[in-house]
Amino acid sequence: MAPKNKLALCIIIAVSGLLISVVSYSGIGLIAVPLMVFFVLDIGVPWGKPPKSDLRVQRKLGSPKALVDEPVLVELTIMNRGEEIERLTLEDMVPEGAKLVRGSTFLECGLKSGEEATLRYEVSLSQPIELRFGDCGVGVQSAFGLTEEKLALTAPASLRVYPKLLPRKMATGRAKAFTWTGSAPSKLRGGRADFMDIRGYVFGDPFRDVNWRASARLGKKVVNEWSPERGLDCIIVVDLSSENLPVVGDWSARGEVITCTYELASSLVASGNRVGMLILGSTVARIKPGFGSRHLRRMLDQLVNSLPGSVWKVQRIEEFLETFFRTQYRNSGGTLFFISAGISMPLFEAVKTLSTKRFSCTCVFVNTLASEKAAVVREKVVKKEAEEAGIRVARAELDWFELQFETISKVYEWGIDSGFTGIGKVVR
């Protein structure tokens, strides 16, 4: 138990009172008597031993996975396995980025031996991330709070926050996302585009392909033949480098970039395309091209784990493609989707270089101007009149860059409310 400022104050007042009494020959020093009673009552009788605390904490989350802006219940239970504690304070350290939506992170109570108390509150997150809960601060105090023993107890738990998949979908069509088709056959159920011919039934042909009318007419079993559908072979390059990621105070465009990527990947996968991913952030994450919802989940997990960084930059994209996606690079096959929240000349140069090498490039620019403006207003970074001017300049810059990018690639803009917008039309 360590003394608190209050105890020091009590002693200073008592000693000062006594000194004044001695000097002035008055009864002012009697202040020391109630103060000492106060002190001895709080610390305990002289022959008593200070209580030995044996505290344990346990954390329980309402759900280990949640969506952005969805409240999650956090329960922190403290158990007293030692002697009775007259006064205890428990304060949970909420990880950075989490917003308290209900309840308090502070609890004050007394705990008898064997008793437990639970602190409950709800948090929500504004962007996809893996949140790790850890330490909580515990203060074991005497009844009047003159002494305190401070403890840091650990109750680990992790919460994965995923982006919301908005109900809108891009009209990618069957294996025709953004009008390109690749060389890989589509894994979409059905996997066929146009009717071509009929042919005799061969053992193993799907039963649903049997053309019953033609079979009845010809007197033998025949099946329909379809032209196989081709899926798009694509790699999504997500630019999470700090240089190209707008940040205002606590707000960053990371959440919107991840939501946009998830929406695009989801649409492409749902259309039976083969999708790979390269995330350039604090670390470089690569996901080999693949099909299906399980593959989509893998990509989503990588997106949630990714954090902005300054080492892996889009300038080196060709090198990454050569290292990680050797086949695609060698054949210049498939489509490259670039997703970025900030347009810059290095990105332009990278796309231009790849376009000249016969890569089919598509740039998706995440328009975060509205969110950025809201953050600027919230943080009071600039004056009111400068806000509008800033937005106009930023919009003009975005338009100018988009025009430049149109000369070398297809360009789309994505907004949290508007979805994907092509050149003058909405792609949804």
């Binding site: 020093g29 009697l30 202040i31 020391a32 109630p34 009673v37 002289p46 200070p50 209900r102 309840g103």
Partner: protein, 168 residues
């Protein structure tokens, strides 16, 4: 509400003493006390509230001296300010839990109320002991004018030594 009542009581005591004794020293002590009390209330600080209480000690003792006599007045004033400021400081700290902006659940509220009751009981014990000391010290003070001071020095030295041993 309880916190507001206690704070109002403390403001009233401070202002009453300032009105009875219109001396510069009392005025300064009461002014600083009011500021400290407001800081303690606004920022939920038990220490600031405690300081506010002790600043009213001398003016209150002067007022009580008119009714009780010197020794009893100082003892009564000390007991009153300790009790009031400790309770208000405690309520200020506890209000961090019970008046949390996002609310608390019933369990946390129940635990806070239980703690509040235990604290009240402890304060009652404190007042009882002070009363016992009061009963003993008043006749002792009648024997010699410095008896109270001597007694105080003895008590404080004993407990400072006790605290030192306990901390070690």
């Amino acid at each position: 509400m309880k916190r507001r009542l206690l704070a109002a009581a403390m403001y009233a005591v401070a202002l009453f003493t300032a009105l009875v004794f219109e001396t510069p020293l009392v005025f300064v002590l009461v002014s600083v006390s009011v500021v400290s009390l407001t800081v303690g209330y606004r920022y939920h600080s038990a220490l600031a509230t405690f300081v506010a209480g002790w600043l009213v000690y001398y003016p209150l003792a002067l007022v009580l001296e008119l009714l009780l006599g010197p020794v009893a007045a100082f003892l009564a004033a000390a007991a009153a300010v300790t009790t009031l400021s400790e309770r208000l400081g405690f309520e200020n700290e506890l209000s961090l839990v019970v008046e949390a902006p996002m609310g608390v659940d019933t369990e946390a509220l129940g635990l806070a109320n239980r703690l509040s009751a235990a604290h009240m009981k402890k304060l009652a014990e404190f007042l009882l002991i002070v009363l016992a000391v009061f009963v003993v010290s008043v006749p002792l003070a009648g024997l010699t004018p410095t008896a109270a001071v001597v007694m105080s020095v003895a008590v404080i030295l004993m407990f400072v030594a006790y605290a030192y041993v306990r901390q070690g």
